[in-house]
């Protein structure tokens, strides 16, 4: 990672938030057992949060001293729309995972995600999505036996039916 010689947009705010966050955690750590004993349950959290406060302050002050980077924009270089959109997409996926079930929610997530990032025809995306979903399902659900949320798809019945079919 290259050393940041210039201050990137948003860096000041981020470092300031870290200071606030550390102070809040320090206050929480103080609430555990105060400054009672060196061996109390709160002693170690107090020490770590105090370290965080000091380190965050040092970083914040150092950041203030840095010259601002020229031609670098927050919404272009640090947090481009693509990252925000993908974050939102993952969030929707995570929310839908339990109610819709693994198969449906993953299908939608992969389809939209690949269409958005790979930008090929809908048919190509659809093929890739179905293929990768099948591979992931076989590896993780059937081989690794990982429990995945079923949601509204009656997965077990379908699997049982397929088994029945093969047994004739």
């Amino acid at each position: 990672m290259p050393r940041t010689v210039y201050r990137r947009p948003g860096e000041r705010v981020f470092c300031f938030l870290l200071v606030v966050f550390s102070v809040y955690l320090f206050w929480q750590a103080y609430g555990i057992s105060g400054f009672s004993e060196l061996s109390s349950p709160g002693a170690f959290p107090l020490a770590t949060s105090a370290t965080m406060v000091i380190a965050a302050c040092v970083v914040f002050v150092n950041t203030l001293k840095l010259p601002e980077a020229e031609g670098v924009r927050f919404f272009y270089h640090c947090f481009p729309p693509i990252v925000g959109i993908v974050m939102a997409l993952i969030l929707i996926f995570a929310i839908m995972l339990e109610s819709l079930g693994f198969i449906l929610s993953s299908f939608f997530f992969l389809f939209v995600g690949i269409q958005f990032l790979y930008q090929k025809s809908v048919l190509t995306t659809l093929t890739i999505t179905v293929l990768s979903l099948v591979v992931v399902y076989i590896i993780f659900r059937l081989v690794f036996q990982v429990v995945l949320p079923e949601g509204i798809v009656p997965e077990r019945e379908i699997l049982a039916a397929i088994e029945q079919f093969w047994r004739g």
């Binding site: 555990i32 709160g42 965080m52 990252v83 995972l97 990032l117």
Partner: protein
């Protein structure tokens, strides 16, 4: 004799043999595909394999580790994109070799030397670990506490950014590890009255967030990188070459083991140091360094694979991870109910020899897969990021869910993913966070044991500390790292030292 039978466990069982092979194979691709990292793969694998028998899970993960360290070199040679940080030095001379049409030979040679390095690392591990763990039995709680802090500080100071950022990340990790009920008194710490937080934040969710989600989000910045194709000719290297460069590869391997065994330093630093060493000792290189010198390819490759064995030494004997990958590995061992540390060798000697045997096996598979399947390889590595990244997200989300079948872990993972993304953006290293999470309970418990045994008196603690040579060395190492990176050192002490030397 017992050791030998434990050593052979994974060699004799077809399932374990198969899983090691599969792991190594996967590892090579994970290491090679830019955007996938070993840390990421092992974090995700933990969540999928935690219900397995420990031997099965370990075989797969050891394979991924060994294969991954090697795999990074392939893309470094073919595409000039190091697939893993430990392959950065490999690209310096590997890519110029490929441009000359010698890609196949470069891959073959790097494979052989990686395997040599791997064996040296494993050999040193098997010799050194038993005596180190015997020595470690004499460690006091305060020594463990200081080792924990030292490890985090080394990772923090060596990962490139400023020491303050590294220390912040490490302390944050330590704090995350304390969330939940205190193991000694069952007092609530940072639970905010939420019962779900009593068990703490799942370290695997933190790992997947920091290494899976945040890394993949970061990759979104570089979606359109053109890929240059290389022609691959003969892979099996000439015997003459192997013989000629063997001494150098052995030297580099020893550098690799030692650097790998130090807490805080891993394959990437080992590789760069070995590259530097090769540059210094090669008086008349056939080709200049940086323009395709074979020495410059061999040294880092031998060193970074040797560092794997080295990294296992502090991990198995002290329970202290050397870098982010080994931290994730220790997390995996904990989940499977193993307690890495000096007692592991006494209580479960079979685990140690099993691991050594398994590493050896994985190393052999690196040789096999390294010299075959290049055609398939160049196809897979060209997998577009537009497909790869959504898949990483899918596996991360499903992986986080699979740990406890709970959605809460997904939220934690996402939160740490987004936080980690911004940390990376502003030059904060994420490695120390995970090291902190893993080392938190060790440091906390040993601190309290140390201070309790001195009846709460800090003066007694320090006077006893300074009367023990080991503790004194550790304390000075910590103080030295702090001072050497502070403005006092760079502005005042260092110029004075240099001045006295030049006078």
């Amino acid at each position: 004799m017992d050791a030998l039978s434990y050593f052979a466990i994974s060699w004799l069982s077809p399932e374990l043999l198969g899983l090691t092979a599969l792991g190594t194979f996967l590892g090579i691709y994970v290491g090679a595909i830019p955007g996938l990292s070993v840390t990421m793969a092992v974090s995700i694998l933990i969540s999928f394999t935690f219900s397995w028998d420990v031997n099965y899970a370990l075989c797969l993960m050891v394979g991924v580790f060994m294969g991954g360290v090697y795999g990074g070199s392939r893309t470094a040679i073919l595409l000039n994109i190091p697939g893993a940080p430990s392959a950065i030095a490999t690209a310096l001379d590997g890519y110029p070799l490929a441009k000359k049409g010698l890609a196949g030979e470069a891959i073959g040679l790097s494979t052989i030397m990686s395997v040599v390095g791997g064996f040296v690392g494993i050999f040193v591990l098997s010799i050194a670990a038993p005596s180190i763990s015997e020595f470690a039995l004499t460690f006091q709680p305060r020594d463990y506490m200081m080792l924990g802090i030292l490890g985090i500080m080394l990772v923090g100071s060596l990962s490139g950014g400023s020491l303050a950022k590294g220390i912040f990340a490490g302390a944050f990790g330590l704090l995350i590890g304390t969330v939940g009920l205190d193991p000694m008194t069952a007092e609530e710490r940072f639970t905010f009255g939420v019962v779900e937080l009593w068990d703490g934040i799942n370290p695997v969710a933190v790992m997947i967030g920091l290494f899976g989600i945040s890394e993949a989000l970061h990759q979104l910045h570089h979606m359109n990188k053109a890929v240059v194709k290389q022609k691959i000719s003969r892979i099996i290297p000439k015997w003459m070459d192997v013989k000629k460069y063997l001494p150098l590869s052995l030297q580099s391997s020893f550098i690799g083991v030692i650097v790998g065994a130090l807490p805080g330093t891993g394959g990437d630093i080992a590789a760069l140091m070995a590259y530097d060493h090769a540059k210094r000792i090669t008086k008349k290189p056939e080709v200049e360094f940086g323009k395709g010198a074979k020495e410059g390819l061999i040294a880092p490759e031998a060193a970074n694979n040797a560092a794997v064995g080295g990294a296992y030494i502090p991990m198995l004997t002290l329970g202290i991870p050397g870098d982010a990958v080994t931290a994730v590995f220790i997390g995996a061992l904990f989940i499977h109910g193993l307690n890495p540390g000096p007692l592991l060798m006494v209580e479960q000697p079979h685990m140690f020899w099993f691991t050594v045997g398994n590493l050896t096996l994985a190393n052999i598979f690196v040789l096999i897969f390294g010299l075959t399947g290049i055609k398939l390889f160049s196809k897979i590595v060209e997998c577009p990021k537009g497909i790869l990244i959504p898949l990483i997200f899918l596996l991360s989300v499903v992986g986080a869910y699979a740990i406890n079948n709970s959605v809460i872990d997904i939220w934690w993972m996402l939160a740490f993913g987004v936080f980690g993304y911004f940390m990376r953006q502003y030059g904060f290293p994420v490695g120390p966070v995970i090291l902190g999470v893993i080392l938190s309970s060790l440091t906390d418990e040993n601190w309290r044991r140390a201070i309790l045994s001195e009846r709460g008196s800090l003066t007694d603690l320090f006077s006893n500390l300074l009367s023990s040579p080991l503790s004194t060395v550790l304390l000075f190492a910590i103080v030295f790292i702090l001072v050497s990176q502070s403005p006092i050192w760079t502005r005042w002490i260092k110029p004075n030292l240099l001045r006295s030397k030049t006078n």
